[in-house]
């Protein structure tokens, strides 16, 4: 009885903490500006099926891609087992689904095989990060928490899978020997292709210790999974959920297309319209503060860009393909995403700490987190957008930040200012007179 109550309490606490955190993130995402992504629904479902569920962009790098698919499949399929664990935990039954017979045998056996594969894949991931030290995991922005976060997740997965297999090993012995809690439950030996190897190591262990091992692993596994659930939304690992909405709301336009700012169009239309009287151009009631052009702080980003920031799993494929980054410049597209997320977190906490109202803290995303030097290094080549396995666009954020630098603060490198002046005066980025634009014709 106490067992069941502890189990129920664990479930409730985990569910509460998880929900609370999800609501915080959702609110933060909705601090972003409007952006319409409600069109082309069937195309969106297809994109999600292909890119998130089908992991089509992961395999651009085959080793990481295939290992990732193993962990992903393992994660999803082994979680079917969670259903049984929850039923057992709440009702006091043992292996509630054992009655399924041969189907159960197949299920448990495949969980075991997957568990082993996940374990191996995670071990290889750890080696790639810490022994081979692949460059993209060692960029400056990966120091401290981001690196620790990745390690925690991989170690947690390994521990959970080990507990799962050890539990099965002890359980198989307990069931075979009809120990009290396990009496009368029959599961075929072939359900345990992997754990039977571990069972061999448990030869000669006393009955009471077998039960102790099985119970310990059972509790460790479920408590581990619930802790993981609570941990995930604080971690880069949150992509396991957000990858789905994030790909659903993908930018479906050509990658080369950059949005035409509606706020600017309104002003340009007014300027071009000879019938507009500039002194009465502002309609009644429209005198509220004009919108900020571009992005200076994280809440100037659109909700989709903020969702992307929370979806980013810091894999660094964007950064490793970025021409600026790979030639030693400060810009790292991954850092742009991480900074955007960290800043909106900070804004969210600030709002909560000040009774629902943001209290100015003298900081902003551009300036306090991201420098102008980073922003000016972007070639807008879209390599980061192409590389992202879940269709995030760091480039979109970078260019939106340039918009605020230029249109709000008139901050640009001197040659860029000249280029603007030339276009304005000569209709070309260089200082050639517009009248000579067609002169080449005479030399054909």
């Amino acid at each position: 009885m106490v067992d069941k109550m502890i189990f129920g309490a664990l479930l409730l606490v985990a569910g509460f903490l998880f929900t609370k955190r999800i609501l915080f993130i959702k609110r933060n995402i909705l601090l972003g500006k409007d952006e319409d992504r409600s069109d082309r629904k069937s195309e969106r479902w297809m994109t999600m099926a292909l890119v998130a569920l089908g992991q089509s962009k992961m395999v651009a790098r085959p080793v990481a891609g295939i290992l990732h698919i193993l962990v992903y499949l393992g994660f999803i399929i082994i979680n079917i087992e969670m259903l049984e664990i929850v039923i057992d935990g709440l009702t006091g039954s043992h292996r509630a689904f054992a009655g399924l017979g041969s189907l159960y045998t197949v299920l448990i056996a495949s969980f075991e095989v997957l568990a082993l594969l996940v374990l191996v894949a995670c071990a290889i991931f750890l080696v790639r990060r810490h022994v081979i030290a692949i460059a993209r995991f060692k960029s400056p922005e990966m120091g401290g928490w981001p690196s620790l976060d990745a390690t925690i997740i991989l170690v947690a997965e390994i521990l959970l899978m080990s507990a799962f297999l050890t539990m099965n090993a002890a359980d198989a012995i307990a069931m075979a020997e009809n120990l009290d809690h396990y009496e009368g439950i029959v599961v075929s030996e072939s359900a345990f292709p992997i754990s039977s190897i571990i069972a061999g190591l448990l030869d000669g262990v006393s009955d009471s210790n077998i039960v102790l091992i099985e119970r310990f692993c059972w509790w460790f596994h479920i408590a581990g999974v619930l802790s993981f659930l609570v941990y995930v939304p604080y971690s880069k690992h949150f992509h396991i959920f957000l990858a789905f909405p994030n790909t659903y709301y993908s930018n479906l336009e050509e990658k080369g297309r950059l949005d035409n700012m509606a706020s600017v169009k309104k002003e340009v239309d007014l300027m071009m319209d000879p019938n507009v009287d500039p002194y009465t151009a502002t309609a009644e009631g429209e005198s509220e503060e004009p919108p900020r052009f571009g992005v200076k702080d994280a809440n100037d980003l659109s909700w989709k860009q903020l969702m992307e920031a929370y979806s980013c799993t810091e894999c660094g494929r964007c950064t490793s393909e970025c021409p600026a980054n790979t030639t030693g410049k400060l810009l790292s597209p991954r850092k742009i995403m991480m900074d955007s997320r960290d800043r909106i977190e900070e804004i969210g906490k600030n709002i909560d700490a000040n009774g629902g109202e943001f209290k100015p803290d003298g900081k902003s995303l551009v300036g306090s987190y991201i420098t102008e030097e980073e922003l000016w290094a972007c070639t807008s080549c879209q390599a980061c957008v192409e590389a992202c396995p879940i269709n995030i666009s760091p480039m979109g954020i970078i260019l939106d930040m340039r918009r605020s630098l230029i249109m709000e603060e008139s901050k640009s490198p001197e040659p860029i200012t000249s280029m603007f002046n030339n276009i304005e005066n000569n209709g070309a980025p260089w200082a050639f007179p517009a009248a000579t634009r067609g002169d080449w014709i005479n030399n054909v």
Binding site: S380, C381, E386, L399, R402, I416, S418, P429, R437
Partner: protein, 265 residues
């Protein structure tokens, strides 16, 4: 090949005619000496293939692309409004551009601002002319069997998903097309996009165009083919930096076709 006069839209209008296609030259193609050679090659190809075309001449203005990518949306939309007024005024339906940046902006960003045209990059237009048999290549042109690598312009490739047309043009030359290790979707930028062309690069340990030229030189290609006047400049500088200008040349695919059809001097 006899000389011919490239007609402007104004001249055509005066004759009461309208062209089948407008050749949008772009700023580099109009003012940069190296890029002007590409412009002339495109004009000669259009003329040779019997395409009725015209240019805007001094009525053409920057599409606004470098301003937009540098963050100056106002200037971009002002340029767009001005260009769209001119293009719509002439009733232009079809445009071929000599630059992937102009191509991208006019194809993807102008429609929403009132400029809806059928826009093609010159590699696409030339590929179609070849497919239609409108360009006859000489038997003994210099690209036959030549080792050539194609550098994908970001705004043609990744930006608009066009990887086939420029390659089909090179294949039509009966050349040996070799790919760089980073190509197509994963092609490395030349370093000029996003208004970088007009400023110095930020602090780093290598210029992007040198890195990209190294990719090209690694293929042992004799010609680096480009489809963008800015890429052309960047790759040419890269080849010079590697002191390979004696063995590797950089040419736009339009120039290669013009040479192979014997319409360029």
């Amino acid at each position: 090949m006899a000389d011919f006069k490239v007609p402007t839209m104004g001249e055509m209008l005066a004759l009461g005619e309208s062209p089948e296609v407008l050749f949008w030259v772009g700023c580099a193609g109009s003012f940069d000496d190296r890029a002007k050679r590409i412009t002339k090659a495109i004009a000669k190809i259009l003329n040779y293939a019997g395409v009725k075309f015209a240019v805007l001449g001094s009525e053409e203005s920057c599409t606004g692309d470098p301003a937009k990518r540098a963050g100056n949306e106002f200037l971009f939309q002002m340029q767009a409004a001005q260009n769209i007024a001119v293009l719509n005024g002439y009733g232009i339906k079809k445009i071929v551009t000599g630059c992937p940046h102009c191509f991208n902006v006019m194809k993807n960003e102008y429609p929403e601002l009132g400029g809806e045209y059928d826009v093609q990059h010159h590699s696409q237009f030339i590929a179609t002319l070849i497919a239609e048999g409108k360009l006859t290549l000489k038997d003994d042109h210099p690209f036959k069997g030549r080792r050539i690598t194609f550098h994908d312009p970001c705004y043609l490739g990744r930006g608009n998903g066009e990887y086939v047309a420029p390659r089909s043009v090179i294949e039509a030359l009966d050349a040996e097309l070799v790919e760089m290790k980073r190509c197509k979707q994963r092609g490395l930028c030349c370093g000029a996009g996003g208004a970088q062309m007009f400023k110095e690069a930020e602090r780093g340990n290598k210029e992007v165009n040198f890195e990209r030229t190294d990719d090209a030189i690694e293929t042992k290609a004799k010609t680096i083919a480009t489809g963008c006047p800015f890429c052309n400049t960047m790759m040419t500088d890269g080849v010079k930096n590697s002191e390979k200008e004696g063995t590797v040349d950089v040419q736009d695919i339009a120039e290669m076709i013009a040479t192979a059809t014997d319409i360029i001097d």
